[in-house]
């Protein structure tokens, strides 16, 4: 009975449960209780999210409203395969981040500030879930602000131990301000043009009232620009790169993973509203090219930056920009195959990023810092972990029998089928850059002498949670990709307004 009720109200719970847990954590005394609340919340949210994703293939209700009224007094949440995929990806990062936060963030804050740090972490996750589910621009605005301000505040909290975190927090706050301005202005313009802040209603206006279309499109374009920062798409990812470099591990993981996934899917939802549903609108091809351009720039710049990065955290952020960029590029090509390939790519990229975050946790907690040189001789010190890291790197490259390969294959096949040759070249180029990066890191892991010898001990083992999820998922969905492919196809059908496959 309770489980059924939870399933029925899952969309609301994704937002309200972390917020309630945040309040509870904030009230907890300094010590482990706040972390326990976070860990329990993380595990519960992860379970709920994967159940939600599984039920996506069995058909979901049309929508869910918090507050019974659409924005600005209530929140219209979209419940379909797209939000199921987005929620699953957010939970894939949020679950391990919360479950391991008590260990991996140890020492990052003053003890007295730990409860508020946990509360901010939970608030950030609530914002990410809300972003993944939002069906109207006001909810989107709120979600974006909740996650962005929480990220900035968490980074700033780490400033008491790491002075370089404060400038990074400042940049994050400025980015949050800019995105708030862009989304609110965009929502206002879209509301004036379409008479609604709901994305689907705006899409309808684009199709039926061409005179208002330009204004509505401008509004949506401003929202997309703001979301690009959250999705850490290059070149809007400067704030995120700085914050990821300085924030405690769980917060960095949420920025680079959960936040990026939620932001990316919010962009995709807006694009799908503007381009395929508004097929009569003459600006639809331009909208598709806009998304393709965003993907092109992000994939190209992200790949180049990743190939040159020597700091593992920054490298992770750049890899994310490149991988999400590829996904955007293939999504823009349109058609069920390409869109499904794009959605699959987001899942494969997430698995790779989860594994990379595990690698960073292991190296950092081993006292080697976040520099690439920390990987030297890792294969001799911790061979099992090193095998996991190697699998993850192969997934990022797109090596066979990993989820990354299936993603690359589907993307290339779809792009070539639609004769987007230039996009296929960009994806191949990003793969090449990832191959160079992986070869470089593998050389450090397996062929160099370790800085100092020592086994994996204590809290470093918590990094295994990430690594097992990333490497295990990469292998599992590489050998048996059907469940993910089905979810991706369902999401593609929902995005294109087609009946479920």
């Amino acid at each position: 009975m309770g489980l059924e009720l939870a399933r029925l109200h899952a969309p609301g719970l994704f937002i309200l449960a972390p917020l309630a847990a945040a309040a509870l954590a904030a009230m907890a005394p300094p010590g482990r209780w706040a972390w326990v609340v976070a860990a329990v919340c993380g595990v519960v949210m992860a379970g709920l999210a994967f159940d939600f994703a599984r039920s996506a293939s069995e058909g979901l209700p049309e929508g869910y409203r918090l507050g019974d009224v659409s924005g600005p007094f209530g929140a219209a949440l979209r419940v379909d395969a797209v939000s199921a995929a987005a929620v699953a990806l957010v939970a894939a990062f949020a679950g391990p981040a919360l479950a391991t936060a008590g260990w991996l963030a140890r020492g990052a804050f003053d003890r007295a500030k730990e409860p508020i740090a946990v509360a901010l972490l939970l608030a950030m996750i609530a914002g990410h879930f809300a972003m993944a589910l939002s069906g109207d621009l006001i909810t989107l605005w709120l979600a974006l602000q909740l996650s962005a301000v929480s990220a900035a505040a968490l980074t700033a909290l780490a400033g008491s131990r790491d002075p370089r975190a404060l400038p990074a927090a400042g940049r994050a706050l400025v980015a949050a301000g800019i995105s708030a301005t862009l989304v609110s202005l965009g929502a206002l313009i879209a509301f004036r043009a379409a008479g609604s802040v709901e994305v689907r209603a705006i899409a309808g206006a684009l199709a039926s009232a061409p005179t208002q279309a330009a204004a509505a499109a401008l509004g949506l374009g401003m929202v997309v620009a703001a979301l690009s920062g959250a999705a850490i798409l290059a070149p809007f990812n400067h704030w995120a790169v700085l914050a990821v470099g300085r924030a405690p591990h769980p917060a960095a993981a949420l920025i680079v993973g959960a936040g990026a996934a939620a932001g990316f899917f919010a962009i995709v939802r807006i694009w799908s509203a503007a381009a395929p549903l508004g097929g009569d609108w003459p600006g639809a091809p331009a909208a598709a090219m806009g998304l393709a351009g965003l993907g092109l720039v992000s994939a190209t710049i992200g790949s180049a930056q990743a190939a040159a990065a020597s700091d593992l955290r920054r490298l992770c952020a750049y890899v994310a920009a490149a991988q999400w960029g590829c996904a955007g590029l293939v999504l823009a090509a349109g058609g069920p195959g390409a869109v499904a390939a794009g959605v699959f790519q987001t899942a494969a990229a997430s698995l790779g990023l989860i594994g990379l975050l595990g690698m960073i946790a292991l190296v950092e907690r081993g006292g080697r810092g976040a520099a690439e040189t920390g990987l030297d001789g890792f294969g001799r010190v911790a061979p099992v972990s090193a095998i996991g890291v190697t699998i993850v790197l192969l997934c990022v490259v797109g090596a066979p029998m990993t989820a990354g390969f299936t993603a690359k294959w589907l993307m290339l096949a779809a792009l070539m089928e639609r004769q987007w040759w230039w996009a296929a070249v960009v994806v191949a180029g990003a793969t090449l850059s990832a191959a160079i990066l992986a070869a470089r890191l593998c050389e450090r892991i397996w062929l160099r002498a370790p800085e100092r010898l020592g086994g994996i001990a204590g809290e470093r083992r918590l990094g295994w949670v990430w690594l097992i999820l990333g490497a295990g998922g990469a292998l599992l969905f590489g050998v048996q990709p059907d469940p993910l492919v089905r979810l991706a196809q369902a999401a593609a059908a929902a995005l294109l307004g087609m009946p479920p496959p």
Binding site: W409, L410, G429, T431, I436, L447, P481
Partner: protein
Amino acid sequence: MINASLFLALLYGAGLQAAIAVLLTPFPRLRGTLIGLSAAALALIGLAALSRWDSLIGLSETRFRPLPGAAIVFTADPFGLVMAALIAQLALAGTLYAGAYAHRAPTPTPAHAPLAMALATMGAIMVALSANLLTMFVAYVILALAAGALAGTGVRGGGAQALTLTTMLLTTFAFLMPAVAWTYAIAGDVGFTGIGLSAATLLPLQSDALLALFVLGLAMAALFPAHRWLTDAAAAGGPYAGPLAAGVVVAAGGAALVKVCAFVFGPVLAQARVLADPLALLALAQSVAFAVIALGKDQLGARLGYLGAAQMGLVVAGLLTGVQAATFGAIVLLIGYLFAGATALMAVTTIALATGRTKASQMSGLGRRMPFTFAALLIAALGLAGAPPLGGAWARVWLAAGAGEAGAGWAAIAIGANSILSFAALAPLCLRALWGPSAGPGTFRPDIGSPLLIAPMMVCAIATMALFVFVDPLGRVLAGALEGLS
């Protein structure tokens, strides 16, 4: 039942070798013995499979389904079976030689080398027995990673490993993967027997672009500019230079290119002439230019590396003609090169181990103290030159006939030039070593003439000669596989 077991044993035998290499790492002596025995068993299985090839044809093994509509499938087709059996023989020679070398080498061979060798063998056999492009690609990536690891075992020049790994990964992911995905997008199928590439399904120049992607993606075939890994691996020396630069790795590269040209393109190759002709021309130019470069190299490993790349140039050129005779000639040349090249590289490595001499100018008179090694090197030299009565002679005849059939009779000049230059690069050296004046005492180690070092080399040399006799049976086995070509 026996046939199916033979096929599966051939397919997975090298995997057992890899498992032994991993599990018995703490017991090096036992590991070496068991790896040698399993390599011998695999070679015997290969011979048994070859002797019953007509009963095995059509057997298949389906594994995972990593993509919607495409699975990992292996099948016993005539060409694949021949190549898999030959790879098993080359792997045995390489494994035994490396084991014997490790006992006598002044520096220990890296612990991961036997595992890399086993994985390379497994990858190469999987490439040969792959039933579709997806399977071939998966096997090719395994082989590329193993080749990168093997390249690190060279005794000279640490750069060979990075170069090999980088070349393999870059070409595989930048060219081969898009080529395979593109084929799938065009034909909706990746199976070698079911690919619907035809004039009707391809746009103008599409077949050319696709062919170029495949040729550039298969770096193991060592076509310029992706040849450096081969020349550097040969120059670096060490016990695994043979398997790398003239053994299982090159065999897999050649086999993959044969499958692409003969089975994926087949008759469609005739409409891809806009790029196929320049690529064939490039390969022919490589066969002559690299043989000239080889002549100028005093370091024996580098000389053999360039000679090998020159041979592979002829192989690639033959395959790109799309003519049955030239394709058959290219296959025979490839097989001949595998044995002759492996023999030569093992001989050169043995000479370096015994005397510390690595340069052609230092070989004079050495043959009288190492008669078996230099006899093997002389046979290899004749094999590379295509002198009768060795298999390379038939290969060149078929290649020239095929070139004439394709309207490029002038290519026979390049084929002849390659023969003369290959002969000039090695034969005089062997003659000087056997009958020339001694170059001084040096640091000769008389105990180095171990039968285990000599035997693999001599067996490969005998195989080089035996190919002359076996060309006819080989032609009968492959006749069905190549009948789609003009």
